[in-house]
Symmetry: C2
Subunit: 338 residues, 2 copies
Amino acid sequence: MEEMIKVAVDAMGGDHAPAEVVKGAIDAVTLRRDIKVYLIGRQEIVKEELAKNSYQDSQIEIIHAPEVIETAEPPVLAIRKKKQSSIVVGMHMVKDKEADAFVSAGSSGAVLVGGQVIVGRIKGVERPPLAPLIPTQKGVSLLVDCGANVDARSSHLVQFAKMGSIYMENVLNIPNPRVAIVNIGAEEEKGNALVKETFPLLKNCPDINFVGSIEARDIPRGEADVIVCEAFVGNVILKLYEGVGATMLGMVKAGLMETLQSKIGALLVKPALKKTMKSFDASEYGGAPLLGLNGLVVKTHGSSKAKEVTNSIIQCVTFKEQEINEKIKRNIGGNHGI
Amino acid sequence: MEEMIKVAVDAMGGDHAPAEVVKGAIDAVTLRRDIKVYLIGRQEIVKEELAKNSYQDSQIEIIHAPEVIETAEPPVLAIRKKKQSSIVVGMHMVKDKEADAFVSAGSSGAVLVGGQVIVGRIKGVERPPLAPLIPTQKGVSLLVDCGANVDARSSHLVQFAKMGSIYMENVLNIPNPRVAIVNIGAEEEKGNALVKETFPLLKNCPDINFVGSIEARDIPRGEADVIVCEAFVGNVILKLYEGVGATMLGMVKAGLMETLQSKIGALLVKPALKKTMKSFDASEYGGAPLLGLNGLVVKTHGSSKAKEVTNSIIQCVTFKEQEINEKIKRNIGGNHGI
């Protein structure tokens, strides 16, 4: 029998838990027979949800976790106090090698803190970044770091570039991925203190394909595969991306409903628009990995539906198969590596 | 005779200079008889362009400036060396009170440096921010600072908030404008070092209506009127706004052309879409003022067409009529005021 990939999934996390999470898990094990999912959460609720569906019994197991960390809770305190929460239990399964990966749509803060404190960093990795994929005209780019470490130093950004390159090359299958640093102009002398300090380090880094600065306006055009920035800036980029997209779509939709003529036109253009919008939807690719941990932790959107959960679980398989962490260890750990 | 508002305009700046700039100037003086425009640039070229149109002779005057600062030139050096450039000549006219304002679509860097070095700051203003209006679902918001001062300090951000409030209240006519600071979460304890330091200062500032943090995703929804941030972040927001908007529109347009059915639909929805997009277009409101200078300097987009030039010139009238600089002097200059 082939080796099973074991993925722990937070059944209580996100706006649509547990229904959509359970559905996503079932779809994942239906698609791939080499995945085993541990659904972590309140046993009775998860069981009830599972009972609504049919699936391969042996591929899904419930792990009881009576507590839930709410989004509004201070993360450090929550991780320390709620030992029986789905997030803490899932993280421990990864740490103890009972699971290869943990997927959660729950509190971002708790997932970030739990990843660092419970799962722990690969030796040599200074800060594990959160690295979501963002949609572009040409496909997707990895935005790294996006919320894990504000006020980062230049050495952190260099590690983000290396880990991001490994991820894009091996998980997304992009050969020699282009790495760029977010800047306010294309010239080398532009930027704030952090960017000016980091730029020459990236330029002289032999392991990556550094293409220089990227201005925010060129990110949606897909001008780089790995987009390196400090977490505050990354978080602003990620959220503004969603915000501008959602607002514009909302305005377009409202505009289309304004006159009888536009309503008829809307019916005709709907299929084409839907297709376009689907290609601009990063949830197709799964959630955001926290890179550089001793195991894989994937954060999906709080608003995740079944599809994103499924894709995130399947993403864990590629991560494991491509031995991403071994590659990070070799590349970053150097002789500190295990 | 009523007093004329004197606006110096860089006839050589931007992608569509001089044709669109000249056209914009003519439209402005045609709309308002109390504006006098000085078109600064190479006399023969500007003259030739003017000759193509008819306008009120007495309202437009050419000021010869043989040199042009190119976008790629290092700004500090360019301002120092090219004394006969349209930007340097225009700035000096403001400094010497020969003009009330200077409008340019030329090199951002040169406009920012020239504003500080030639026109000079209002006493008490630590850093003059560039403050563009960005479109939102509800109208526009002022994004301040957006490129003038990277690595700003908290005291700068407090001044940005005050000057931005004065601008929005008096030029855009928004009573008691809501001020928010860009942050990566809504809670007070969130943020990087700069935001954590600035938050309580804004909270305790009596002159402004501080509503707390704003996440980037809520900016397009129009959840604040004055959006305060450090210039690197502001620049990223401004450019990503344009980038996501342009990319999405491009994809929607391409999608609409894909099938015969969608092409027919596109014809029907076009008027409604155009109207929607117009309401999401900040160029209706003119360019970005550099706040806190001894005179008004307005930077318009490099890609400005006549309409944005016209609106920017007319914006200068409101700025002057509402005595924005006198209000900034009273509010920020305190007893340093002239």
